[in-house]
Symmetry: C3
Subunit: 317 residues, 3 copies
């Protein structure tokens, strides 16, 4: 694996999940792997879990970490090829990516969707810009269209908490006051498609269909109640419209997850979560909530990814 940009960079998901679960038993056993290696964490957007868990993962592997709020600590980047840079941007991605590659052995980038222009978000100019010009492996810490560290953590959490032989997992849209990106939902869908022993249903109101290329083979049910029937896991997430790109459509308050809707299922969410909007307090404070277990698994998802990249680097040398 050269980069970790997407769930599709995982060769065999069940193996990775097993490896991550093994790694949790003694997280600092591979301290030698990262000795003398440096991870750069570059944030163009806010972060709590990703910021802390990725640092923690790197330290577990013995790496040095340099964290930088790229947007505010560094220079505003230009991404256009051939641009005449006489406006606000002081540095081109071509130089930024090559320069960072001089100081780091692996870099990780967070750059959210702007939800203004679907084609622009789909182009992933920040992540792909770094990929194109950097000479080191890149880890996606949530880009415009994908959050594969979250989805890997979710896969670990599903495995650790599954009881049924073939559990039913439902991805349910939920309301939110602001327009949110599709990255978490996209990567969750991709991860579920790589699962071999789970049933998967997506449910959302009309108008909130995800990228149809991604969900082509998925069961989609716009009746939330029907979708949730006999669920073992309910993964909840808001996203804005993909068709009416970036829009928040009519009020769908009745999509809030309640204990009644949840039934006997276990509840999952990537956090941060708006209490009593996305899900009620009773759901989040109840025994069926796995949100903290998911957050904890972010460390081990990141650690497995970094370990794979370090192993790949030492092999090619």
């Amino acid at each position: 694996m050269k980069h970790y940009l997407n769930i599709s960079d995982i060769d065999h998901l069940p193996t990775w999940v097993d490896e991550a679960i093994q790694l949790k038993k003694d997280p600092r056993a591979q301290q030698h792997l990262g000795q003398g290696k440096t991870l750069g964490l570059f944030f163009f957007n806010n972060s709590l879990r990703t910021r802390l868990s990725t640092q923690k993962a790197a330290k577990n592997l013995g790496m040095e970490v340099m964290v930088m709020n790229f947007g505010t600590d560094g220079w505003q980047l230009e991404y256009e090829d051939g641009a005449v840079m006489d406006q606000g941007c002081a540095e081109h991605i071509k130089e930024a990516a090559q320069v960072v590659s001089q100081y780091c052995d692996i870099m990780a980038v967070r750059s959210f969707a702007q939800l203004q222009d679907r084609d622009a978000d789909t182009a992933e100019k920040v992540l792909n810009g770094f990929k194109k010009y950097a000479s080191i492996p890149i880890v996606n810490m949530e880009s415009a269209t994908a959050h594969p560290l979250q989805a890997l953590a979710d896969a670990i959490t599903l495995e650790e908490h599954r009881k049924a032989k073939k559990p039913k997992v439902v991805l349910s849209w939920a309301p939110h006051p602001r327009a949110l990106p599709h990255a978490v939902a996209n990567s969750f869908v991709e991860m579920m498609k790589a699962q071999t022993e789970m049933d998967f249903v997506i449910t959302h109101p009309e108008g909130y269909a995800l990228n149809p290329n991604l969900t082509a083979d998925c069961v989609i049910e716009t009746d939330q109640e029907k979708a949730l029937t006999d669920a073992d896991f309910v993964y909840v997430k808001n996203w804005s419209s993909y068709e009416s790109y970036g829009q928040v459509l009519n009020n769908h308050d009745h999509w809030t997850i309640t204990p009644e809707k949840l039934g006997k299922a276990q509840f999952m969410h990537c956090l941060p979560i708006r209490r009593n909007v996305v899900a009620t307090d009773a759901v989040l404070d109840g025994d069926q909530s796995l949100v903290i277990a998911q957050a904890n698994n972010r460390t081990f998802a990141a650690q497995l990814v970094l370990q794979k990249l370090l192993e790949h680097q030492s092999k090619i040398k």
Copy 2:
């Protein structure tokens, strides 16, 4: 000790002070204690001394440190139980505290008083929110009402510089252009009440009485000159009115500390200090100033606290 939130978390102050003074002789002697342990420093407000000295202390103990400006790097937190989170706050303290507990072994928090509402500040929603929901020890890096790392550093400094058998220590209010919190003064008072061999006097203009519950047993003298007579240490600090909560009352420029007022006493202040407002240049640049010694002791106060928390953790395992 489970947390370090207040001076009252110290079981026996003189013993702690002795231990801190011992620890200064070889600050890195306990490197093994923090091996593989992570400290999270979370700032909701600015910081120089606390930011650097607490990091330094953790590194002296062999810990990893993750520093985060919580307010700007993470998500705005909701503290109300049962809130319907459809406004500006993206994450509830319940999740934030539990999540941070997954990545850190100890966390430290700075969150100042807002000086708008006395009851709100007294409730210490940030510090107490983390305490209530976190599963790891919490260190107070200055909350709305207390700054116990500063007061412990001050106790060490007093001990190192005392000459008299029973020195007289005066806490004197001083002028300042802005309304300041009571945290430093509160913790200094609490620390002085735990001293066994010192005389303690508080002096401030009319209207600037500290929380009367805290100063119930203290000698209070509103005539500054009288209070300062024969002082061995003068600890200077501005605070806004507690009664007219958060207000700056009439002009009290004549309360500025001068060499004449100081006499033979040693001068203490927590820093940052407004020169020629709180105290004159001659005081700060003179031989009787202990402010840099106090700042230096911040490292060892923090280190002793972290050491106690690490030792407690290893005992209960």
Copy 3:
């Protein structure tokens, strides 16, 4: 060497360059030197290369690093002696410098020119304030008038890429949409004056003469084409007028560096660079560009400086 504030702090440039080139062969060979030592990086301005390369250098030497955006994370500093601090500044440089000296073994500071007042910038109040009051060595990470870490990295790059016995090096002004400081150009000139086996020419439009005290012995040629003839290295940089201090004078778009102007010379720039304003894409993407090599050498320039300071400290103890 007590501090590294300027190129003049280097006793013998060719020796330093040789040492840096040696050090690159095994950058982590001196891990013991920095054990238990702490470097503080204090930024009053944005930074990418300096921020990352100086951290990397310190880690290569086994040091701990504390990074702080001084302006936004700490307190606004007062620099005037005798100031009555009843306005916006909460802390005086006298205390800030002494306090930082308690927690760090070496400190590094970035504080750019403000380009409002030549005398004020020349006074270097931030860097000189820290120098005056700190008790630890100070490294200049770009001050109002000098950027000696960049110039040392440039000297290393020149040495690694020289082919001619006595190469001709041209420092050429280039256009830029904003008013920029003179620091990089100044230190490059000073560094070139310390070179023994190179020819040096400065070229700039009328009105852009650098500080004449600095360039007194230099060849200056205002005809860019003439200056660039037979150049082996072209070091390109914009700066605002020194005479009409901080001003951007008439349009000089024709000073943009193109492959035609470059000829067979190798191209150097400190980055960040405005593409197609300072130099065209063809220059930056061509084989003659050394900009990434220069950025890479920032690590080893910083590392050599830190190593010299650590060795000096251990000698005087």
